[in-house]
Symmetry: none
Subunit: 203 residues, 4 copies
DNA sequence: TATGAATGAGATTTCATTCAT
DNA sequence: CATGAATGAAATCTCATTCAT
């Protein structure tokens, strides 16, 4: 039973190494298989194709992170009454997301830095889109309460980009989860200071 | 004289198109040459290799931008007496850099988004390094004046990253130079607010 | 009992679809099995190999058609006294063969148009050979009665070819049995007109 | 100069052999190149792909045959006044077409019997279409002159098929041009006897 | 200046088939 | 009765690069 997925797991393991080293595009299936002691065709029994093998590595982390993002940014639903996020909010968010991220450390680094050429190459943009929608809601509410102002779409997108990027930068530059948590909090607070002002433009 | 490098220029022109479409890695030299009405070997007369051709597109913009960066961040030399950068500073910087960037619009977009696999794939990091050194000087000075504090290297790097990224994001999302200038100023001001605090950690 | 060969039948059914779509060569056993809800190896329990599976589809129609051909062209045995086939003869033959053919419509279309690469790829030639032998008998008799003439082997083969081809063309271009019967009769009559003359050459 | 296309010609030569032996589908480019003393990639310098290489063999014969067909079946244009083709007509046609065909003997045999899987696999149908159009004109004229009759499309197609097939059968069964000419004439005469009657159906 | 030819290495993918369980 | 795993061979094609001319 423990042997059942031995080779599949082996394949995934060596794939991680190869993708990490060379990136999706230049990674060689032949090498992965040889390293795993299997023949090239074996990949195609377990996975649909090269993207499928890559997916076997990154699909779960993507799912978990998406869920966390959705849970945090969507669950508050329609009934939030204030756009005043406090420091605590960010701390909670960080304390929820960082552990998820660091439990898939290798996988995430691969996904975020080595996916070019794969069908996941735009995954960061997807994450950005997710939070951008929420930020847009907040911004629109705020704009409605400030006469003569409207939401600046560029700034909204850039701020969303910055937020996601803070996490991407974190995991790609700091391998310790503990340190990561300590670093991300002030960063989020820094980013939140004045962002609403930045986002509003004269009508 | 104008005909002398006709073919070289043609090659560069079609290379831009191809690199823009497919990225460095997947771009086909054969297609570039065919499109230019030349044969494959021609590239190797004018350029060392694929990277050389890519360089013919991006070397000049890189040089100009580096000069601007150095000019702004280094020229002040040792004699600056204050870390208090004012809004005007950033505006000057933006008004100097943006025109340079937008005068190489296509080339820069290629460099910043399509260079993976080329020897320029880490160019953004190089830019970051350049400003990071200067920020480090400022931060060290500031730290020296605040007892019990030292510079947090991670934050320093991240802030540098953010700054460069603001420009990268700009040129890859806003094609109008005029609008770009209007957008970048509040962004730089936003970023500068509180960054020194962020960068200092308890010793 | 009806369930016993359920999977075997399922396999055959999906094989028909696949062979029809892609032809023997390009048909994928893996796809057939997947479609049938089974795994690749299953084919090799029920059938010897790919050709065996193909045979499971076409063997019965081949047998029935061969029998009809033999029955019609051989049964008359040695005792026919005339080479004068009348219209009625052909009508009888057509009325006997067409129903057999159309009761295996799908199978026959597959056999006649999709068997390239299989061991059945020359089946039409086999059918031709069968009737060619009989035509040869007739022709030799006729030749014997006409001084200075001998049978032209090429013409004999071509006429046989035409006859079989009339049926192949029919089933691959007309799916209605009723119409098929109406069409084949004048065709056979057309073909029989003057064929004996064609077949004889000056010695 | 005589060496200029040496390798290209060599490639074509060995391709003929390989295609003839195994058919388009199963033919191995690798083998063709090895036999020609070249590497696999060489094919892709001279030709677009496998179909391109096949085309280098069969394109010219196809063109010549099409021209002959068109010349014979189309040139008479609008001014033909009778549908009564005489024996001489067929003889002329045969004497024109057969030499063309036999001057591309190998190429045609490959095209007609080994093209399955290539983009030429339906070439025979194309030829049939060409003459079918002309036969249709003749048949419609004839039908117009016989009250209560109309053209039977199936018969029209079948007759066209028979005519083309007579030539296909010829070149694939008789390698001598001289004999071919002697054989095809009576065949065409045989086919033309009564074909108009066959083609007309009661309205 | 550039061509045209060719290399050589490698890429992903597909497939029928086998076999222990 | 059928699975699931894996093989092993081959397939087409693409590419940057080289080099004699």
């Amino acid at each position: 039973m423990s042997e059942k997925y031995e080779n599949k797991e082996k394949l995934i393991e060596y794939a991680k190494t190869e993708f990490m080293e060379k990136g999706f595009e230049k990674a060689s299936l032949r090498k992965i298989c040889t390293d795993a002691g299997l023949t090239t065709g074996a990949v195609y029994f377990f996975f649909k194709d090269k993207n499928g093998l890559f997916g076997a590595i990154v699909d779960e982390p993507i799912k978990k992170i998406s869920e966390t993002l959705i849970g945090h940014f969507m669950n508050e639903g329609e009934d939030f009454r204030t756009y005043e996020h406090t420091e605590g909010d960010h701390d909670d968010f960080a304390e929820e997301l960082i552990p998820v991220m660091y439990s898939y450390y290798d996988e995430l680094v691969i996904l975020l830095t080595k996916s070019q050429g794969s069908k996941y190459e735009n995954i960061v943009d997807d994450f950005i889109d997710m939070i951008e929608q929420r930020y847009n809601q907040l911004a629109q509410m705020y704009a409605a309460s400030v006469p003569g102002k409207k939401v600046n779409k560029y700034m909204l997108h850039w701020i969303s980009h910055m937020n996601i990027n803070a996490f991407v930068h974190l995991i790609t530059h700091e391998s310790s989860e503990e340190k990561a948590i300590r670093l991300i909090k002030p960063i989020l607070n820094y980013l939140v200071e004045g962002w609403l002002d930045l986002i509003l433009t004269d009508e």
